[in-house]
Symmetry: C2
């Protein structure tokens, strides 16, 4: 039995135009009746993650953001600088739906038993196009939230929790025993701190400000290094000697930080080795760049790295494919089990879809300040 499906719904899309204008608008899209293995979710909570901001605004200059209209007619525009247009060539003229993850109520279900079982349930799902009043999803991509959890509680079930778990999982699979994380006071960083404390993993937290260091120490973090301190390099080396961390996940991507981490890892290893080799130590040191908060070039000074090092991109979806469905399901189950503890997310503001297109609101969520995280509730006010 298929419940009556809503006919149309609003969906936030980002369109890059050849003249360098980026248009964000709410499109009224048709909601097709769900196929047997599909459900239609009324989205009630979808977080704005850094990765979402990347898709929403690309390389646009936020100074140029302008808004017009209200309700379903709300629009925002921004200019992409000439030099950045090439990097956005591949998405030219495509109106891209946004929003990686979210949660809400299943309001229609396909004929399969699995889909029908979800009807009326509060579920979390992911895979894009969540900044929308309705989102059709496969039944097996829905995570039923535990009793007592609201859509807001489960909105961030996937990206941050699975990324954080992906880090400790990658650490183990690649033979490391402790890890380093940058931008460590972020929502994701705090989550990783809780995971590592629970699992007994030594975590070196790198932050940029004393107040972020304080926040993490108050949350029980043992190793916190402030990159704005003049003693940063020796602090980090000491933390690496104590923890033995030889893998790092870097959210910033640009500048010299990744290379500094590798250099400190090598320095820490050299302190413990006796023999000289001009190729450095034989222990492999790895930094994965999983974000690009700093859009400047990544710069490596190789003189102090030795030869046993690697840098590379790290992305959640290919990681989950690599570990296979069983291992991925184990991670998802842990998220559901610890949704209100280890994986709890806090939001500083809940906004509607039209509000997400207002200049002042945009500047707010694009700031990505520590402790500032916005939640879109598409079921509100459009």
């Amino acid at each position: 039995m298929t419940t009556a499906t809503p006919q149309r719904g609003l969906q936030l899309r980002s369109l890059m135009q050849p003249d360098g204008t980026l248009d964000l608008a709410l499109h009224s899209v048709e909601i097709a009746p769900p196929k047997p293995d599909e459900v239609v979710v009324r989205v009630e909570a979808a977080p704005i993650n850094p990765s979402d901001i990347g898709l929403l605004f690309g390389a646009a200059d936020l100074e140029t953001v302008a808004s017009e209209g209200s309700g379903a007619q709300a629009k925002a525009t921004a200019r992409v600088p000439e030099r950045a247009l090439r990097a956005m060539a591949a998405r030219m003229n495509m109106a891209l739906p946004c929003g990686n993850e979210g949660a809400g109520t299943v309001v229609a279900a396909g004929s399969s038993a699995a889909a029908q079982a979800l009807l009326g349930k509060t579920v979390a799902t992911f895979g894009g196009a969540m900044y929308a009043q309705y989102r059709t999803a496969k039944d097996d991509q829905c995570l039923v939230l535990p009793p007592g959890c609201t859509a807001a509680d489960g909105a961030s079930c996937f990206v941050n929790p699975l990324t954080a778990l992906g880090m400790t999982e990658t650490m183990r699979r690649e033979g490391h025993h402790a890890l380093v994380h940058t931008a460590a006071a972020s929502n994701l960083g705090q989550m990783l701190n809780r995971i590592c404390q629970k699992d007994g993993i030594a975590l070196v937290n790198i932050v940029r400000k004393p107040e972020q260091a304080k926040l993490l120490r108050e949350a029980g973090a043992k190793w916190v290094c402030d990159s704005s301190a003049p003693t940063f390099m020796s602090d980090l080396t000491q933390a690496l000697v104590e923890t033995g961390a030889t893998i790092a996940f870097d959210a910033t991507g640009g500048g010299k930080l990744a290379g500094q981490i590798l250099a400190c890892m090598e320095a820490a290893l050299l302190q413990q080795s006796k023999e000289y080799s001009r190729y450095g130590t034989t222990t492999h040191k790895q930094v994965y760049l999983y974000g690009g908060l700093d859009t400047s070039n990544t710069e490596l000074s190789r003189g102090n790295l030795g030869m046993a090092w690697g840098i590379g991109g790290w992305l959640l979806t290919p990681f989950l494919q690599r570990i296979g469905p069983h291992a991925a399901q184990r991670l998802r189950q842990r998220v559901a089990d610890e949704l209100k503890t280890t994986f709890a997310s806090r939001y500083s503001r809940e906004i509607s879809l039209p509000e997400a297109l207002q200049r002042d609101v945009i500047l707010g969520y694009c700031k990505r300040a520590t402790g500032e995280k916005y939640l879109i509730n598409p079921s509100r006010g459009a």
Copy 2:
């Protein structure tokens, strides 16, 4: 039965002093009688590879090289700039023997049958300290040269041949089907070109000068891209579309080249993909830095790389350990079998140990010009 062993021999050593002076001199060292599984090789040919120059001169400023003395008293000094001293801290006050590989005649052997069987034979060996009149080696680290091969023919049996074979082997083991090589007109690059032609592997050769491109084309190379050409980026992208290469070995290390290779690989892949993802293609692209001809920082512009990429150091010895003794032996045997064809090395000049410490000779072999490769014959003129 142990043959009479030479009592002492000269050995070239490089000593970094705390005051910033690098001293190169010939040390008279004792030759211990060989243990049962050892032999003593009279070294007759040892090449000067870029990796040897690194150990000989470190971060020294070659402008400051000065020589004095002659014969066994020959010495050379050079200054290491203040800012580079930290990178050489680990080798401070150690008089390091130099010379990664070489060949010569076995003049003494330990009591084991394997060692005795080598007596009088011309063998190649490696592992450092080859710029010496005599070098003690384990019997199983000696490669007996095929009949008709001189020590000079076999002097470069290990570093270049195994590095070149290590590249195609790494390519296969990591799931790639074609490869890119920089500084492709080098002795190593020409060898790799011969291997790839023989094995039917598509190789994209990157050079810096038109005359290097000409040299490779005349040697049958199909894809040659000159990084000094204004069309370099589009030439390289086109070569990558044609070959499908997604792994590169970069001898330069510094500057923007590694990032440019990754960006062109991604551009080539995007030409063949239809769907847009802001994370780029899902095909992993890898650049290994195996040398540091360009000592400036490695700079990556990440905007056009996607997320599926990696950069890392690559070094022969850990590679051989990783593949295990059987696979390594298979590579060594191929080198011996094709020593006068695929793996032939040419030398522009043969010098004695004292000559290797003369300023004008030093400036010659440190130039690393295409086609310039020096061979030290320690059995001559000291």
